[in-house]
Amino acid sequence: MKLPIYLDNHATTRTDPRVFDAMKPYFLDVFGNAASRNHSFGWEAEDAVEKARKQIADLIGATAKEIVFTSGATESDNLALKGVAEMYAERGNHIITQVTEHKAVLDCCKRLEKDGVRVTYLPVRQDGLIDLDQLRDAITDKTILISIMYANNEIGVVQPIREIGKIAKEKGVLLHTDAVQAVGKIPVNVISDNIDLLSLSGHKYYAPKGVGALYVRRRNPRVQITAQMDGGGHERGMRSGTLNVPAIVGLGAASEIARNEMIEETKRLRYLRDKLKDKLMRELDEVYINGSMEHRLPHNLNISFAYVEGESLLMGINDIAVSSGSACTSATLEPSYVLKALGAGDDLAHSSIRFGIGRFNTEDEVDYVAQKVIDVVQKLRELSPLYEMAKEGVDLSKVSWTAH
């Protein structure tokens, strides 16, 4: 087993060697511009792009013409939200989203608010899911778009997109979903899920960084967006810019692999995740899972270790690459806004760790991680005055702390 162990697969994934192999010819040999219409270099590049477009479409139940290539999901989110707001401005100026979205969506919304768009930010319940009745109530005759993520990047909870899609359709509102964490991991189907626009990103499912796509529905209804970048009119006028052919080939290959292997891979990752979770919860007390366990990605675990501070925990497991809900690197402490939205206290938010298990992790690695985390948490609790007080029966919420 090689250290350090990479268990931060929600941040990014290693490119699958098969994907890398598929990309290789498109750097040195087939290097043409896919928009060149006059010679074989261009035609071959275009063929490769169109094959990839089909592979991606097949993964999400779309047709090839509905796939618009972008530089990644941040761009896809920007194009979807700003493109819809601009295109449908005459029909309405209200967008509904939720508080635990990725910043790519939230900050787009903030920008749009400055331009006069009204945005409703739905809260989430303690399990991280939105309340469908609240969604229904928030829709007005000015609402043009609902943007709710498929699966959350921190806590991995999967929103009821199919039901949200039904509500959107019923009310004649478009549905955009940031499906970055879901595509290639769990079944996503734009038809049965009633999705009108969907953002995806290659490097979250074993393709390289810097490539992604926006699905834009073409039938029932035909969705239109205003381009946010001016130029050569590539991608049916929706996204100008020379296509990144090798990366697009990689995205296509990764999509095909995901489609073929999803069932087996999900089974394996869920087994590893559950093994990690069960071991941690068996050997440690006062451990809390953040977000719904039932509606969750199979490879995600987000867990808080009470009475242990996150940064010291990460310091103790520095041969494991994970992410913490605490951003305690400065005097202004800012725990994760996602965990705070669940109603977790700041202290629990500070002591959370996000594990993201991926295709290249082994059972030995997961066993090592579980034991290491247990050892470090136990050691830090020996050091923790809060754990000592809690064991003595002191109610920590009633202590008057000397905040500084």
């Binding site: 010291s312 402490l333 702390w401 500084h404």
Partner: protein, 137 residues
Amino acid sequence: MAYSDKVLDHYKNPRNVGSMDKSSPDVGTGMVGAPECGDVMKLQVKVNAETGVIEDAKFKTFGCGSAIASSSLATEWLKGRTVDQALEIKNTDIVNELSLPPVKIHCSVLAEDAIKAAISDYKKKHKSVSTESVAVG
């Protein structure tokens, strides 16, 4: 962020971890910080009433590696000092010894506050022997 070797050493091998009976007249206890701020330090000193010398010091800290190291170092420095000498320990001494970066200076401030709080608690128990009043940090 890179931690200094001394911070890593204290984190891996913290000195004087533990608790003493806080109701004992010889023991002064200081607890500073707050869980929602991400650090709480408990520091205790056991003082020889005859000589005024700190014979033992213990700590427990909830916080980042630098907070743990700051309080661990503080207990090392406290042992053998008199109560009044203990109050001469300044947060900047801790910053220098541990090479703390600017974002971690608050850890050293917290350790200084914990020392003051522990000494103040001890002095409160021994008002008769204490001739000066101490400000609580």
